[in-house]
């Protein structure tokens, strides 16, 4: 659906994007992550047509993305609206700018506000809304015209835990029929929503993390043992740098080299430790991300 090829962007004599290549499939939900200054927001601004770019191309369905503005919904990092407008007026304004009939927008507004958790707030002025409420209104304007591609820049940054939870549910519903690109640096928020993460650093895509796959850490072994007797003896073993007690029957062995499970069982048996289950430690997304970013 989206193909970005060798995209370059310079801002104030500084190269922000240095040959971005990526693709996003139809109905895929992709997270865009990277440390601050990686170029995520610039990439998003190029994709939405806010910024032009020097080299490369961004294509949607094989056509320049500029021709698909009607198909894109966008929520910026800093959400604000005309303070004097009511929620209703704001949505009417953006709906009409998207080429929708006034009557159609008016009909959609109550459902839309309910969907983003602002039901009954249609006559509230923007200046009366909290930061979180403005964020929700931002989402409402982004999905108002049923876009095929939804681009969200830090959508949960100013939401409280309840708001985040509601937003996650909304994303889950939207991803059934919409392609979503979410820029974030809080992986906890999008962990369950995104199918894949694109990692950016210094204006380049440095890798992908498939959130459906399990990421194992072969330098850490999780053991469930019958009892903790003789466990301390493992500390004497040269392969094990540390032994962590996680629960009355669970320990985590760490080393500086990758373990072979067979050898770990042998070492335990040698110390008369009865192993019930054994497996490599699963890394969470944040760990995988930090490792990828710090490696390059």
């Amino acid at each position: 659906m989206i193909i970005i090829d060798n995209l370059h962007k310079t801002l104030e004599n500084r190269k922000i994007l240095k040959g971005i290549n990526l693709s996003i499939a139809e109905n895929e939900c992709v997270g865009l992550i990277g440390p601050n200054g990686a170029g995520k927001t610039t990439l998003i601004k190029c994709m939405t047509g806010i910024l032009s770019y020097e080299n490369g191309s961004i294509r949607m369905d094989s056509q320049p993305i500029e021709q698909h503005k009607k198909d894109i919904g966008y929520l910026s990092q800093y959400t604000d609206f005309k303070a004097w407008m009511t929620c209703r007026e704001s949505l009417l304004f953006f709906g009409q700018l998207s080429g929708l009939e006034k009557k159609l927008v008016q009909k959609r507004i109550p459902t839309l506000l309910e969907e983003v958790g602002l039901f009954g707030k249609d006559h509230f002025k923007v200046e009366q809304l909290s930061g979180g409420m403005k964020q929700r209104l931002g989402v409402a304007q982004a999905i108002l015209h049923n876009p095929r591609l939804l681009i969200l820049d830090e959508p949960m940054s100013s939401l409280d835990p309840i708001g985040r939870n509601e937003m996650k549910k909304l994303m889950e519903r939207l991803k059934l029929h919409t392609t979503i690109l979410i820029s974030t640096h809080i992986l906890d928020d999008t962990g369950e929503i995104c199918d894949r993460y694109i990692i950016m650093k210094n204006g380049q895509v440095i890798g992908n993390i498939n959130s459906q796959l399990q990421h194992v850490d072969r330098r850490k072994v999780l053991l469930q043992v019958k009892d903790m007797k003789n466990i301390d003896r493992l500390k004497m073993h040269s392969d094990f740098e540390s032994v962590q007690f996680l629960s009355p029957h669970t320990i985590l062995l760490s080393g500086d080299k990758e373990f072979v499970l067979k050898n770990v069982i042998k070492a335990c048996t040698a110390q008369s430790i009865e192993v019930i289950t054994i497996g490599f430690h699963q890394k969470d997304l944040e760990q995988v991300f930090i490792e990828m970013v710090s490696e390059i």
């Binding site: 801002l11 601004k45 939405t48 047509g49 806010i50 910024l51 032009s52 503005k69 009607k70 894109i72 966008y74 910026s76 990092q77 800093y78 959400t79 604000d80 609206f81 005309k82 004097w84 304004f93 953006f94 009409q96 700018l97 998207s98 080429g99 931002g138 304007q141």
Partner: protein, 255 residues
């Protein structure tokens, strides 16, 4: 075209909600009555505030006619204090949208950059011309009441040409806003450029032919019986306005 209309309507609605229409109109109306009042009651004012020993009022001095008074209202009040306040009221026309993220929301819609820029130009031109026109009308009525009549048609001719100068000024604010983000600096730079053009038109005859402020001379000539309509000045003013917006558009993409 439809989007341009929607955006202009939003600009006008904003000016209404923020009472800009009211305070700007009141301001220009006040300016409009100040000069005729000063001219009419100068003797009284001087008698009250001056030390009689130091002020000698020439009893044979020429009494200004209605056109002279009105011209001094325009060149003295509207083109100096009025211009400064007008520019200050416009200084955030792009910067506010940019800082709030509203600009991003608008430009990600199927709205062309030029629709957005021209909506700012047209919207603020309509707001200013409404306020200025009311101020000019109030000034005209006061001047006619105190100093005698002059042609209303001449006044309309003046207003049409003066509105082109205002159009140019707004385009200048838009252009400077694409280079500078600080609102105060935008205002200072625009005021400096505006006064520079006004100064240049009086300073050099050759240069005055191509400066946008020449349109002011042309507007003033409509009030005097100099039936000069220099189409070159009209064309240059309009062309520079379009050029400013085009330049702003080209620069905009590079932000």
């Amino acid at each position: 075209m439809n989007n341009l209309f929607i955006l202009v309507r939003a600009e006008l609605a904003e000016a209404l909600k923020e009472y800009k229409f009211i305070w700007l109109t009141l301001f220009f109306s006040t300016l409009g009555v100040t000069q005729p009042l000063i001219n009419k009651y100068m003797d009284v004012i001087l008698n009250h505030i001056g030390d009689t020993a130091g002020i000698v009022i020439d009893p044979n001095r020429q009494v200004p006619n209605a056109t002279d008074v009105f011209l001094s209202t325009i060149s003295g009040q509207f083109n100096q204090i009025g211009l400064i306040i007008l520019i200050i009221s416009f200084m955030g026309l792009i910067a506010t949208d940019r800082n709030s993220g509203m600009q991003d929301f608008i430009l990600t819609r199927p709205v062309s950059l030029y629709s957005y820029l021209y909506s700012k130009l047209i919207g603020h031109w309509l707001i200013s011309m409404f306020s200025i026109s009311v101020g000019v009308l109030v000034s005209y009525l006061y001047t006619v009441y105190l100093f005698g009549t002059f042609s209303f048609l001449k006044l309309l001719g003046f207003l049409v040409l003066y509105s082109l100068w205002i159009l140019y000024l707004i385009s200048l604010v838009i252009l400077i806003s694409t280079f500078v983000k600080n609102q105060i600096l935008i205002a200072i730079l625009t005021i400096t450029f505006a006064f520079f053009w006004i100064f240049t038109k009086n300073f050099s005859h050759a240069l005055s032919q191509i400066v946008p402020a020449k349109i002011l001379t042309l507007a003033e000539h409509q009030l005097l019986d100099l039936h000069e309509l220099n189409y070159v000045s009209v064309f240059i003013c309009l062309m520079l306005t379009v050029l400013n917006i085009s330049w702003a558009g080209a620069k905009f993409n590079k932000f």
